[in-house]
């Protein structure tokens, strides 16, 4: 299976297999007007199977979203057919309006126009807690 290489854009690599569509949706890639390739279950020496997303345009990707969904992801920036930058994403310190607090007793369950905010409180175990009720994300 061949997918054309990109001239200017981003390759999101080392996505855990089957997680690619979640990232595609979270980054709202369906709203772009450029070519986007989502490859699932690609063979990987390191991971066995992995997903890859290729975006044929230099866009600003929300790294917090990527780090939260899968902190093992690698980002490759391609400019004029050359790989100019390569880095890993990290767990973000704060995430906003990506997930809802599941605590039925939390104020976010009734107050209108309130951002859903979570803070990273335990990096080692990837624990996020709601800003308002401090319940950990399930």
């Amino acid at each position: 299976m061949n997918i054309d290489s990109i001239k200017n854009g981003i390759v999101i690599d080392h996505i855990k297999a089957k997680k690619g569509m979640e990232i595609y949706r979270a980054l709202k890639l369906d709203e772009l007007d450029c070519s986007v390739a989502l490859i699932t279950n690609a063979k990987s020496k390191k991971m066995g199977r992995k997903d890859i997303i290729k975006i044929d345009k230099a866009i600003d990707v929300n790294l917090d979203i990527l780090g939260f969904i899968d902190s093992n992801i690698t980002i490759n920036i391609v400019k004029e057919d050359n790989l100019t930058e390569k880095f890993h994403v990290e767990l973000p310190e704060k995430i906003v309006n990506l997930v809802k607090c599941q605590n039925p007793r939390c104020i976010t369950s009734i107050e209108k126009n309130l951002d859903q905010v979570f803070y990273l409180t335990d990096k080692e175990n990837s624990v996020y807690r709601c800003k308002y009720c401090e319940m950990s994300m399930k």
Partner: protein
Amino acid sequence: MKNLIDIKDLSVEEIDELILTARDIIKNKEKYSEKCKGKKLATLFFEPSTRTRLSFEAAMMELGGNVLGFSSADSSSTSKGESISDTIKVVGYYADIIAMRHPKEGAPLVASLKSDVPIINAGDGGHNHPTQTLTDLLTIQCEKNRLDNLTIGLCGDLKFGRTVHSLITAMSRYKNIKFVLISPKELNIPEYIKKEVLDKNNIEYVETHNIEEYMSELDILYMTRVQKERFFNEDDYVRLKDYYILNKEKLVNAKNDLCIMHPLPRVNEISTDVDDDERACYFRQANYGKYIRMALILKLLDIN
């Protein structure tokens, strides 16, 4: 310090300062009787809590100030669908400081982000109740004359009991504190409290289901009520509500200067035959609550 939402908002130095002021108020009540003249406290109680509300109102009255407010959501605009943000904005025009109790966790934080006047969290669901913790700290300081070098037994509902969680968090900042955690296994202290507070601060603790096992070692015994409103399952509540009943017999091996505390209201967990024991501090504890709230109101209104 503009608001008090969580006991963790306060440094040890700020807590010491509040305790110092509260102790001065106890000794010199007259000196403080007009400190808040012309000021108004709004008590916005979206769920009933007679004891806490009256304590706040008495505190403001003893400082010479006035109070206004409501004691249940039914008598507020919330019943008409008004948001916390809107309610707080409006009340800020009528009062100089707000004490707020709400069944939803995080509601006082939302209020503080919108308010132009200081907000005091007077309890938000099963989450925080910082003025109860300040009350507990003042009680310990007054009764034991120290906040360090103490073995503290916490008994009852350690799972849902927010007063217990806050007290552990607050006391973990003092030297040589040891906790004895006494609960049935269904109401054990949550793992995150052990990991993120006790272990993180290298605090020594033991867990037991037997209230008498460590009784002779305790300087403080903090009893708690098993709260019906924290259970989703009525059967679990009925099974666990009378698991511990402290009575004179269980205190046989206790130290002579043990301090028995309870945030009140008490149901069955402390037998009334303990009330006359001079080690029973729980009614005095309620009285200390008024004085620490007076100190807090002065601090937040920046009145010396």
